[in-house]
């Protein structure tokens, strides 16, 4: 009798652990899709009612020229400006769906993003953005301006973008472009 109970309890406990593990794993893979992750905690129907996908434009370098190219993407609208900005960066981190070059090393994580009253977005990346970055002025420029242009183009209140690495100010990504000042977008770099 006691033995049976124990077995049932043990199997229930095991199930619970398995469920937790599965849940955590999903959480891990969903890190680049935080909006969906958040909405999954609400009831499905309620979430669907709210969702009216909005279009954002991302800028990626291409194999064919030295310009940045537009890529449209439908995303779930976010509540705050900072959340929308995070969304854009996370989509950039996911890389291009149209075969453009993904200028940010895939291991890179977005650590934090906040926007000041003066319209400067501080985007804090994990160290991989610099450690795993391909060295060269052109590579650095395309990474920086795909971030800066994507944020500023979609979110008008963002006038400038300051790139932080591992929570701090770094001199450069790879020895060239100055990260100690915020960047303004350069739309001349975008293909017509």
């Amino acid at each position: 009798m006691d033995k049976k109970k124990l077995v049932i309890l043990a199997s229930l406990f095991l199930c619970l652990i398995v469920l937790i593990v599965i849940y955590l794993n999903l959480g891990g893979t969903a890190k680049s899709r935080p909006a969906q992750f958040i909405s999954s905690s609400q009831s499905e129907s309620e979430a669907e009612k709210q969702i009216e996908p909005s279009t954002i434009i991302l800028f990626f370098p291409s194999e064919h020229d030295s310009l940045l190219h537009r890529e449209e993407r439908k995303v779930i609208p976010e509540s705050s400006l900072a959340q929308q900005a995070k969304r854009i960066i996370l989509e950039l981190l996911n890389g291009s769906q149209l075969g453009f070059i993904s200028p940010i090393p895939p291991e890179t994580r977005l650590r934090e993003l906040y926007i000041t009253g003066e319209g400067v977005a501080y985007v804090d990346f994990s160290r991989e953005i610099s450690d795993k970055h391909l060295s060269g002025s052109s590579a650095e420029l395309s990474t920086i301006y795909s971030i800066v242009n994507s944020l500023s183009y979609n979110l008008k209140p963002i006038k400038k973008v300051f790139i932080l690495i591992d929570g701090g100010e770094k001199k450069t990504l790879g020895g060239h472009i100055d990260l100690s000042s915020p960047f303004q977008p350069i739309y001349d770099m975008v293909a017509k």
Partner: protein
């Protein structure tokens, strides 16, 4: 998203105003760090060794003259030359000296700077105007060279000597109107990109950007030395780490006439090819101007917190803005170099580019960064590996530089 909690938690919880303050505070730290690293650089730039002479410089205003005292830890051999508003003091010493100087305020002496040529070191004293006479003499214990500058050409007035100065050994009297050589103060600073642990771009065949930049820079330096009577300074002449701030400081300390940073490009695009020449973008200088405005508004605090002898460091920080004044010339220089490189590589003019390059921001003279070709392009890598092409690239850059100097000759 879960990673959000890991960073700047304070900033994410407090209000926007506080964030701004935090940001300003965070941005303040690097400035202090820069100040201290510049002090450190100033003390160490010439390396410290036992046989190294220490040369200490001070300037004092007296009633009708300004006195420059050059004190040395070893016997001094020197030569003083006057040229318009400049006094050039050539020092001959056995080993590279370590310079120390006190900050000064003088009504007649605008600035004192030093530069090194081949085997000799030159102190340049800039005066307010060219109508002056000077008197120079040496005293012993410790060895000193004293230069008195009389603003209205009324030199040679009887002066009181300190007791320690009675051992006056020689007077290398230089008077206005004497036959004086006109030295060429032109100084070309060449900056081989990267170095040491920082290898820069890597080619398919294992070529490192830092090695190519040094090879091309050395060749360019040789050509300049052979062709012109100008000083040439390399920011590094071996495989070593030199910070980006130190590179611009070397240019400014040597009173560079032109600063050329040599790089080899890298791109995600395999097809990317051809040379590119950059000068600093306006954006970056706008930002610098704002920073300088902030520094100037707060300079009293800075002056109080930094010791008098390190005051020059503040000036060095203010050099952040310096490149603004040279953007037009920098773009001209970029254009001349780019058109020569286009001839060499047979490329169409891709146009001169502007970008906020860290190494250019603090340089107080026309300054460009040349990406001679793409190391990420195997064909260009193969070419760049040959001695022949390195020489050709150096020659092309020199041709652009020479044209620029011709058009801008003083």
């Amino acid at each position: 998203m879960s990673s959000d909690a890991g960073s700047i938690p304070a900033a994410s919880k407090i209000g926007i105003d506080c964030r701004d303050k935090l940001v300003k505070f965070r941005r303040g730290i690097p400035k202090v760090a820069v100040a201290f690293s510049l002090i450190f650089l100033a003390l160490n730039i010439h390396g410290i060794s036992q046989s190294q002479p220490i040369i200490r410089l001070s300037v004092q205003d007296h009633e009708n003259y300004s006195r420059v005292t050059i004190q040395s830890s070893q016997p001094l051999s020197s030569n003083v030359e006057k040229s318009e508003a400049y006094v050039f003091v050539k020092l001959r010493v056995n080993a590279p000296p370590r310079f120390q100087r006190e900050s000064f305020q003088s009504q007649f002496i605008k600035s004192v700077s030093w530069s090194n040529g081949s085997g000799s070191y030159t102190l340049t004293i800039q005066t307010e105007h060219e109508n002056y006479s000077l008197d120079s003499f040496k005293v012993q214990n410790p060895p000193r060279l004293i230069i008195d500058i009389y603003p209205d050409g009324e030199g040679g007035q009887p002066r009181e000597f300190d007791v320690t100065e009675t051992d006056r050994t020689s007077v290398e009297g230089q008077r206005e109107g004497m036959n004086l050589q006109t030295p060429d103060p032109e100084c070309i600073v060449i900056d081989p990109g990267h170095g040491g642990l920082e290898a820069g771009a890597k080619g398919k065949f294992g070529t490192l950007e830092k090695d190519l930049t040094l090879a091309i820079s050395s060749k360019l330096a040789d050509i300049v030395k052979q062709t012109r009577a100008s000083n040439v300074v390399l920011t590094r002449d071996r495989d070593e780490d030199v910070s980006l701030e130190d590179r611009s400081a070397i240019a400014n300390n040597n009173k560079a006439s032109v600063f050329i940073s040599i790089h080899v490009n890298g791109s995600y695009r395999k097809g990317a090819a051809g040379p590119e020449t950059f000068f600093l973008s306006q954006d970056a200088t706008d930002e610098d101007s704002r920073r300088v405005a902030f520094l100037e508004n707060n300079s009293e605090d800075l002056e109080n917190s930094i010791q008098a002898e390190d005051q020059d460091v503040i000036k060095m920080i203010l050099w952040d803005m310096a490149q603004t004044a040279f953007l037009k010339q920098s773009s001209q220089l970029a254009e001349e170099i780019q058109s020569q490189l286009n001839l060499l590589w047979g490329t169409k003019n891709r146009g001169i580019k502007q970008a906020p390059f860290k190494v250019l921001t603090g340089v107080a003279c026309p300054a460009v960064l040349v990406e001679v070709a793409f190391l990420s392009n195997p064909q260009e890598e193969r070419k760049l590996l040959t001695e022949e092409y390195q020489v050709k690239v150096a020659e092309a850059i020199y041709a652009g530089l020479a044209k620029f100097l011709r058009d801008n000759s003083r």
